[in-house]
Symmetry: none
Subunit: 299 residues, 2 copies
DNA sequence: GCCGTTCTGGAAATTATTTGCAGAACGCCT
DNA sequence: AGGCGTTCTGCAAATAATTTCCAGAACGGC
């Protein structure tokens, strides 16, 4: 790749390796920069010149020696590089430990962020793309899609239902296990049932998938446990990889992972039917817009 | 809190959320920047002015409106931010952020993972921890907590409602705007209303928060736009930093960011009441367990 | 010690950024 | 519709930052 890019990625390295061929005054500059890059970023060329007990001209020449067009460009690159390093550092000094009662609010936030991003990364990396494509194709072709989940998993199901509806598919969600069973039993071959369950052992969801299967529908399971009964029973199994924190107050990572899977599934579905999408999205947007006219209460 | 640092982390978010309060010419500038930040980084103020068919003065003023001392500082921050994002993209080995119709399923997954991860990281970094602590304390002390959200935001509200209920708090969620209004009006001083809305301009949600406020309840807003009317009206504002993909098929990042905020809030609440928690969680777990006895349909 | 080469900082020249200002555009009120 | 105040905009002047030029200083080789 073009040099410009490479330099920008590792300014400090460039500076270090340039030291041997620099003159005394320029070397002083290099050392100052390496010692505290973050400080230098905030300095104007004059400030840096003072800091190095030298002149602006020297700084400018230094920047050119290292391979930049001048101080302006160098400073920009330095800012990019330090920020990049900072980002990398941030990601790793997130203590991987579980959340405990002694944590500050800031710590809690970091840890949750870490766990949730981890869940997303691992889940998307571990997805069975073949199964996913099959599921997406089935949903695209279905006359109707039933979604089901209880407890925290109901949110994933609802979310997907909202999304599919938005692109003009007939998607249904029921929170009530009896209604869900009824609904599943009425599916027809070609229709799809998507069942969400973290453990994959929730009895209600299992029964729904069995009913859907019996009715001839394509069954899709979103679960954390590929060996669960739910997974065994489904045609397409989409596995989440969430390790729930010990502070298991609620399904945090698992729910995020499920939603991510839902998103990928949804986008795959939508991608296969571009004609339909464009229009449907716009129409639903307009509808909502129109529907929200009203009066403010404090007027 | 160190504003400088926060801004530097998410310049694009700042720009985006500043749009509402910008003038026409400044808005053009903002849009240009959002459209192709990498390009703008290489531009001098004159270049950017030309690109936006406006004057240098406008650019300079724009930078100040967004919260920087001037273009120099802004450009530096932009360089830092884009480089940071680039680093994150490298991690997911992908080249562009936005999803398009040509993407393979694997690519879609990477991109979604990237965007959602970014939303989580930026949101947790940008959280106002003071507001968060206040909200958590209020919820802990409330005799009742009302949660409200429509559309995609309803999921966040539901999620939080489930969690709070699990630790023994009286938490209510209503999807129906009329019921929500009724409910909000009946809150008492010391109670809490949590309102979730991405844009912060949804009329229904605005009215709910106004009603809750009038009833003397503590009001908490979860929104992406700190300058929105909703945010203005709330006692504690928790801001998400989600940049929705151009493939705006559904609120993916914004919803994830909201949930993350909800999680942090919940854990903060739970942390302050350990006695209550341990027991409550166990009892609710047992209850669910007992409630799920039944017969498998395929037996 | 002299000469040529390289290095350095002061200062001028250039370039970039910010600020002041006056006209234009807009909304508001009558 | 017309007048009035406010805000927005671009021009241009003022300022600030950076680059280039140049002359003197320092060093090394003869």
């Amino acid at each position: 790749m073009r040099k410009g890019r490479r330099v920008r990625d590792d300014v400090l390295g460039e500076v270090r390796s340039a030291i041997p061929r620099l003159s005394t005054a320029e070397r002083r500059v290099a050392e100052q920069i390496l010692e505290d890059p973050e400080r230098v970023v905030d300095l104007t060329i004059t400030g840096l010149a003072e800091l190095c007990s030298s002149s602006q001209a020297t700084i400018a020449r230094f920047c050119q020696s290292v391979g930049f067009s001048g101080y302006r460009e160098f400073r920009l690159a330095l800012a990019a590089a330090t920020s990049r390093e900072q980002a990398a550092r941030d990601r790793f000094d997130l203590t991987t430990g579980d959340i405990d009662f002694a944590d500050s609010v800031e710590n809690i936030a970091s840890k949750i962020a870490y766990q949730e991003t981890l869940a997303i990364e691992q889940t998307t990396k571990g997805l069975d793309f073949a199964a996913l494509s099959r599921a997406a194709a089935a949903i695209r072709g279905a006359a109707r899609v039933d979604l089901y989940g209880v407890g925290a998993s109901s949110l994933t199901a609802q979310d997907l239902q909202q999304k599919l509806t938005r692109v003009g598919l007939a998607a249904f969600f029921s929170a009530d296990p009896h209604l869900a069973l009824t609904s599943a039993a009425l599916l027809r071959p070609g229709d799809v049932a998507v069942v969400v369950s973290h453990t994959g052992e929730t009895l209600e969801t299992l029964n729904v998938i069995l009913a859907a299967r019996q009715a001839g529908a394509v069954t899709v399971a979103i679960t954390n446990y590929p060996a669960s009964e739910l997974a065994e029973a489904a045609d397409c199994v989409l596995v989440t990889h969430a390790r729930e924190s010990r502070y298991r107050s609620g399904a945090m990572s698992s729910r995020i992972a499920q939603l991510t899977v839902g998103d990928v599934l949804f986008v795959s579905v939508a991608q296969g039917m571009p004609e339909r999408m464009a229009g449907a999205l716009e129409r639903t947007y307009d509808a909502v817009k129109r529907g929200t006219r009203g009066r403010r209460l404090d007027a």
